[in-house]
């Protein structure tokens, strides 16, 4: 009885690993380092995580996980609550439709796909936020965030690959 309970708990934890690791990474991106770079250099960690897990483990990273991640980021950010959820839901629709084209492709193709997904996600957020405030938000920082995110993707992928290979089994 105890064994089966601990087994199911272990399985549940493994199935929640994509969501937990994404929450961990998003929280980490808000930590002020005050050392190497300024706080205005922010990669879209949530977008990278949603993109990765939807492509690699859509069975354990579903719509609900995307929603929870959006809520978590919304609580950390001072942008209006709901904008992050909206952005990630749009990304969910986008990636879900592209799933069949990217399945089993090389990392370079996935990366190119991320460039597209990041552009769509950032543009969507920018558009919604601009409508919300009835004012066009500055595009300079947006462009900066896009470039930083694109170059941060391989590092974030490495972390996610580690989580997938080391902390999750095939059963999960």
């Amino acid at each position: 009885m105890n064994d089966s309970f601990s087994e199911s708990l272990k399985l549940l934890l493994q199935r929640m690993m994509p969501l937990l690791s994404s929450i961990f990474l998003i929280a980490f991106s808000y930590v002020p380092f005050n050392v190497f770079f300024s706080s205005n250099v922010h990669a879209s960690v949530s977008v990278a995580c949603v993109y990765y897990w939807l492509l690699h483990r859509p069975d354990v990273f579903n719509l609900f996980s995307v929603f929870v991640l959006g809520l978590f980021e919304g609580a950390l950010s001072s942008a209006p609550y709901g904008i992050s959820v909206f952005q990630l839901l749009i990304l969910y629709v986008f990636v879900s439709n592209l799933l069949k084209y990217f399945n089993g492709k090389s990392f370079e193709v996935m990366w190119a796909g991320f460039v597209l997904a990041e552009f769509v996600a950032l543009f969507a957020k920018w558009f919604i936020a601009s409508v919300f405030w009835a004012e066009f938000l500055p595009v300079q920082l947006l462009g900066f965030a896009f470039v930083v995110s694109v170059f941060a993707y391989p590092i974030l992928t490495l972390i996610n690959v580690f989580v997938q290979n080391s902390l999750m089994t095939d059963e999960a």
Partner: protein, 289 residues
Amino acid sequence: MKRRRVLFVQLSHIRLLIKKFALVILFVVAFVMMLLNKTDTVLVDRTSSVATDVVSPVVDFLNLPAKGISFIYDYLKDLRLARRENKLLRAENRKLRLISERARSLEIENRLLAQLLNYKRPDEENLITARVIAEEGDAFSHSLIAYTGKGARPQKGQVVLTERGLVGRLDKVGHIYSKILLITDINSRIPVMIEKTRVRGILAGDNTLQPKLVFTPLFSEIKEGDRIVTSGVAGVFPSGLPVGVVSKVSQREIRVLPYADLDRVEYVKIVSYAQEENPAQVETEGGDE
């Protein structure tokens, strides 16, 4: 038996329907959340404060390794710069002693003149020192989350400073953590003035690194390098707090470079002035934004 089956069928139907329209439902939920934000009600405020209190410990925990890296980096940098800095500090100390003497005599003179005019001094401020645990500065918002502790009772709208100057004001106040809206955020509006000429205006953030100076009188003389301080209009911010320096003057806009290094803030001072404790005034200021 029949009734149970009906209930079972209905539940499964509802479950199927929810599954089918989950995406649409979540989009609607997100939209409703944004609309509620726009209304700026007490309920939204409280929910946001609770949310900040719930998620901030995760970031606070992750601060430990960040602090370690930061400490090692600072230690090595300090070692390298110690000799040169020591020399500079000695020279600065000599200058500061002279300024301190002058300030002391001016303070005495000021007190005597105030007595002569029967001038009532503004109340002393209450200070809370808070540690910054999270920062955000992108195209969508500019804010900080600070650990204020359980004992302190900061209030929404209070002034946030560093040793260099104004940082912003308290936006969401939780039991342990509080969110600070930076002066560069799109929601920030601060009444300011040019220190020398006393020309008034509003410092308006637009999510760039240098906020705009707006609503200045036509044909007013504003030059690059002019110091900007708070004007004290509306009573939320006391007058004379250092804000920044005019960095760009063109026909279209005037930009201000904040004194405080907003992307490298470690500790902040949350200041409560007697005037701010009138919630009506704070609300009016928040409402304008």
